[in-house]
Amino acid sequence: MKPKSEWAIARNTILSAYRDFFYWLYIGQFPAKEIWNQFRQVINDGWLTIFWGSVVQGIFVMWLGGFYGDQFGGYRWLGTITVFGVLREFSVLMSSVLFAARVGTAFTVEIGSMQMSEQISALKIMDIEPTTYLVIPRVLASTIALPVFVGFSFGVAIISSWILSDVFWDISFQQFFLNAFNYIGGDIIANSLTRSFIIGFVVSLNAVGLGFYPCDGAQELGRTTTKSMVINIFSLLLIDLIIGMASTQISMGAPS
């Protein structure tokens, strides 16, 4: 029999994680306490990374808007461009990537090393289902935490971009925000939060699922963690693209 490739094993490991997740969510006890503990842990682990990422992102979007606004004399639109860019796309994308890097890889390594040191076997011997104890709390906590991070990122990115636009282009608070929210409806924020909700679920379940990849040693665990990151980046880009395109088509109609 032809041996399976690493990626085929990774795919099967992730698929069985999805199957087990829904099976045990339906049949097992709901681990409310563990979900709350994991939620606090995820927020604690990720908030600083998201904060600095959002500051950089806000500066970046503002700088592009300001630079080209300067060339085309469009300063009055700077706030609108920045706020729209942040709310519609950049915060979701940047927070998701940082989330996959900071929290997702931590999940893969944590579960992977638990597997290697037989802690998962110890759970099973104690009649504790690893999916209920390890997977469901991490996934549900992340599904809630990523939209929270994205909301946090909205605020940090917009404030940092306004501060910098005041410093570089002398744009006041009123000028910056004057037009900004006239063009941005709740649907854009709802759309971004929905995407982050789905991405949070998929990224965390991929990452935790890959923790169960059969690793024999540190090198293989390292390779699995890399796989987790690669798979998650592609997954989140794909989800962002598909939902982004679908929602744009629904709200604006198909491009002619």
């Binding site: 040191s117 037989e118 802690q119 110890a122 099973k124 104690m126 009649d127």
Partner: protein, 252 residues
Amino acid sequence: MIVVEDIWVKFGSKEVLKGLNLEIPEGKTTVILGRSGIGKSVLLKCILGLLQPISGRIFIDDKEFLSASKAQKKELTACIGMLLQNGALFDSMNVEDNIAFPLAYHKRATPTEIKKKVYEYAELVGIRDSLHLMPKDLSGGMRRKVALARAIMLHPRYLFYDEPTTGLDPTSSAIVEILIRQLKEQLNITTLVVTHDIELVKFLGEDVALLEDGKILYKEAKTQAFKEESPIFQSFIASRERIQREQGFSNR
């Protein structure tokens, strides 16, 4: 009693267990002796349902295990505890939480009762003063003591030990050996030990089985197994001296 009948286990193209048969009688200490990588841990994991054999039957208290439903399997293995190699302690919890974990998770006692029981078992295995420590702060011997205390929290009738003294210095090994025997005698636990440590076999074993080539080749009472004419003695215990002699390094 646990009965293993004609168990076959294969990893890829490698056959690890090839029609293994074994009886683990209640109330006794059975030791399975075998070289490293021969499939001793695999056998324990099959009995616990952590690995699925490709064929064979396992009876736990006269009930067939492998063909049972998930719920029935859980019920059958609930009476079995196991000390894994290196203890497998949860490194995010301190010693006290590690020991309390199985009872606390299953909510089988009140927090006060759990605390009382943790102190009782910690005293029994001699780690009463280390309850606040994290697993990373423990030596190999201490880790196994903690794992032992955790393993008996759910009152198992059978306790499996996977290489309990591997990697320990002689003093720590002796302490762990004594603990295993004490637990067996005080709590009347049927004990199954897999090891390649001859001293452990001498100290603990009542029945000794030799695992070789995927099968239990011989099973004898300990008194018999250590006689020079015993096949177990010849094929495992005397093999070290024979190999040394063959290579010209005999110290006799």
